[in-house]
């Protein structure tokens, strides 16, 4: 139990410290310190003889408070075997008082206005940076193609493996399940009109034109977009990218281009697999649920396809790949300073690449309707 007792009057004061004065009792000590009256003058005798286990923090808080309660002529003396570090603390107090205080915060209105301004400037800088990144990427890409060694085949192979081959199971599974769901719900609705057979059209067109490529792109954005951002981000934190630059290598050529090209190659291939698995799912459900035999499913499938259906999905794949790779690597390159930045930017990379994919898909939809593709 900590006790702090102030006795005396006029010019002669005694402060008795009693009980636990260790750091663990800090909460009590600060309450009692705050209860001390202000505006004292004369001398104050601080008696440490009964303080148990005095800690540095509590002693510091006491000194700070004693500086606060004294009027102009106030003299503090420490008696009763004060702790050995008190002298050091007193020196530090003088040093701390001599040092300039931290600047005061501006009033709230001014601050919120400047906050808006700062945000706008940051957004502008961000926009410029994105355009700059895109420009550098295009320049480096053009150079790389004229110099095949710069395309780093081994790195490219590794990224195709990581973004493409390892994604096959999950992409297949999801494409299969989604097309089963579409076929199942479609069969229920179309069955009311006796138009069961049009389930085949529904599955074929939706999978080939939209679902196959869109789902694949979203899965890849989640898997590889985040991986790109995190990998490059950690390299930034370790100054690896700076080391590359210092050795005269271009991090965009070494880190961004292989990932971009790998994804441009892998995503269309994954889309083909997703399309195939989607059609298989539709076929299986038609067989089991609607009793449409497989040969009939296939012949109906042929009829429902126009020459462009498959390609209407496929042309989008490389575009989505470029978007995902660019967002992921750009966010990775933005990581500076802290682990928290890394987490934030990885999240941003995933969210933005999914958003960009869906936005691009919407634009494609409008475009294809307009040109009747």
């Amino acid at each position: 139990m900590t006790v702090l007792k102030l006795e005396g009057e006029g010019d002669d004061w005694r402060l008795r410290l009693d009980g636990d004065w260790s750091l663990a009792a800090m909460a009590q000590i600060e309450t009692q310190l705050r209860a001390l009256p202000g505006g004292l003058h004369g001398t104050l005798n601080c008696d440490w003889s009964r303080a148990e286990d005095p800690g540095i923090g509590p002693a510091w808080a006491l000194l700070t408070r004693l500086d606060g309660i004294g009027a102009q002529h106030f003299d503090v003396r420490h008696t009763g075997d004060p702790p050995h570090f008190l002298e050091l603390l007193q020196k530090l107090r003088d040093y701390a008082q001599a040092a300039p205080a931290a600047p005061e915060a501006a009033p709230s209105l001014e601050r919120s206005v400047s906050e808006v301004g700062r945000w706008a400037v940051l957004q502008g800088a961000e926009g410029r940076a994105v355009i700059g990144f895109f420009g550098r990427l295009v320049t480096v890409l053009r150079e790389s193609f004229s110099r095949p060694r710069a395309l780093r085949p081994s790195s490219l192979a590794r990224h195709i493996y990581e973004t493409g081959i390892t994604a096959i199971p999950i992409v297949s599974l999801i494409a299969f399940l989604i097309s089963v769901i579409v076929a199942y719900l479609g069969a229920q609705q179309l069955g009311k009109f006796g138009a069961d057979i049009f389930v085949v059209d529904l599955v074929t067109i939706s999978v080939l034109r939209e679902m196959g490529v869109l789902l694949t792109a979203i899965i890849v954005a989640g898997r590889s977009g985040s991986a790109f951002a995190a990998e490059i981000g950690v390299m930034q934190l370790n100054e690896e990218t700076d080391a590359l630059r210092a050795m005269g290598m271009n991090p965009i050529e070494l880190l961004v281009v292989p990932r971009l090209l790998a994804l441009v190659i892998a995503l269309p291939l994954l889309t083909v697999i997703a399309d195939a698995m989607g059609l298989a799912g539709g076929g299986l459900l038609s067989l089991l649920n609607l009793h449409i035999p497989l040969p009939q499913f296939i012949s109906r499938l042929r009829e429902s396809l126009s020459p462009t259906t498959f390609w209407a999905g496929m042309v989008k794949a490389p575009v989505f790949a470029v978007l995902i790779a660019m967002v992921g690597t750009y966010r990775g390159m933005q990581v500076r300073e802290s682990a928290r930045e890394l987490g934030r930017l990885t999240t941003v990379a995933v969210v933005q690449s999914i958003f960009m994919v869906i936005l691009a898909d919407a634009l494609f939809a409008v475009l294809f309707v307009q040109i009747d593709f």
């Binding site: 750091l23 663990a24 800090m26 909460a27 600060e30 800690g55 540095i56 923090g57 510091w60 808080a61 700070t64 050995h84 570090f85 002298e87 050091l88 603390l89 530090l92 040093y95 701390a96 040092a99 300039p100 205080a101 931290a102 500076r336 300073e337 802290s338 682990a339 928290r340």
Partner: protein
């Protein structure tokens, strides 16, 4: 000032550390007495950091015991462990400041965790700890990435001191500092050691630091530790120790410390 009785604070007995087939420590003994600055040296790969991690309980020894204040680190219950952790401070080689917190928040982190107190008091104590290690006041509002290497080391020391430990473990505290900053860190350490009556265990490669600050030195050779005073080490005939303490750099450092 009466010299306190030299009780043993850290005691490692028969420590064996293995990584697969590779044996790093083979029956290592180490004893650190209270109120001394104990330097741990050894060539690269002799397991200095492994030793530190084992003492801190971050790594389980393959054999042998580690005692801090006479308590076996491995045998402690969770509650005892928490109070033991509060009784020592550690700085890691690269500072290991939490990068998403400001320097002041880093210093306050252990205080917040273990001792309830108001925000103003926390700010006061952060100011105290920063002043203790000689950091300017405005360093508290900065993030670790905005600090220079020397300031990071000092900030890490401030965080290690925040719970007012009697025992400090420092892993390469002057590595990567320029000679002036390193010398200033040595002086700071000596000053804090005398003013706060600390026991310090320091892993270091820095011969200047070793000659300037350490009372006793433990050298890890062939998986064991040879402990002696600096004067004793200079007489030691072990090939590696002789090379270490009589190489060109050691002679210069020794001259600097005594001359």
């Amino acid at each position: 000032m009466p010299e306190p009785a030299a009780t043993s604070v850290v005691r490692v007995h028969g420590l064996v550390s293995r990584f697969g087939a590779q044996v790093v420590h083979d029956g290592l003994d180490m004893e650190v007495r209270s109120n001394e600055i104990f330097g741990v040296v050894g060539g690269s790969g002799t397991g200095k950091s492994v030793l530190l991690r084992t003492i801190l309980g971050l790594r389980r020894p393959d054999a042998g015991t580690v005692e801090l204040y006479g308590k076996d680190v491995q045998e402690l219950a969770a509650a005892d462990r928490s109070s033991l952790v509060q009784s020592y401070g550690v700085t890691f080689q690269n500072g290991a400041l939490i990068s998403s917190l400001t320097v002041a928040q880093n210093v306050q982190l252990p205080l917040r965790e273990y001792h309830p107190m108001s925000e103003e008091t926390l700010d006061e104590l952060a100011e105290l700890n920063l002043a203790l290690v000689g950091l300017p006041r405005d360093a508290g509002t900065k993030y670790p990435s905005q600090l220079s290497g020397g300031m990071v080391k000092r900030a890490a020391l401030a965080r290690a001191l925040s719970l007012e430990p009697k025992l400090l473990f420092l892993d390469e505290p002057t590595a990567g500092l320029d000679p002036i900053s390193a010398a200033a860190f040595d002086e700071l350490l000596l000053y804090l050691h005398s003013q706060l009556r600390l026991t310090v265990v320091m892993i270091t490669h820095d011969l200047d630091t070793l000659f300037r600050t350490c009372n006793r030195v433990g050298v890890i050779v062939d998986g064991r530790m040879i402990t002696d005073t600096l004067e004793g080490m200079l007489q030691n005939q072990n090939a590696w120790i002789h090379e270490y303490f009589h190489g060109p750099r050691a002679r210069a450092a020794e001259k600097g410390a005594h001359g």
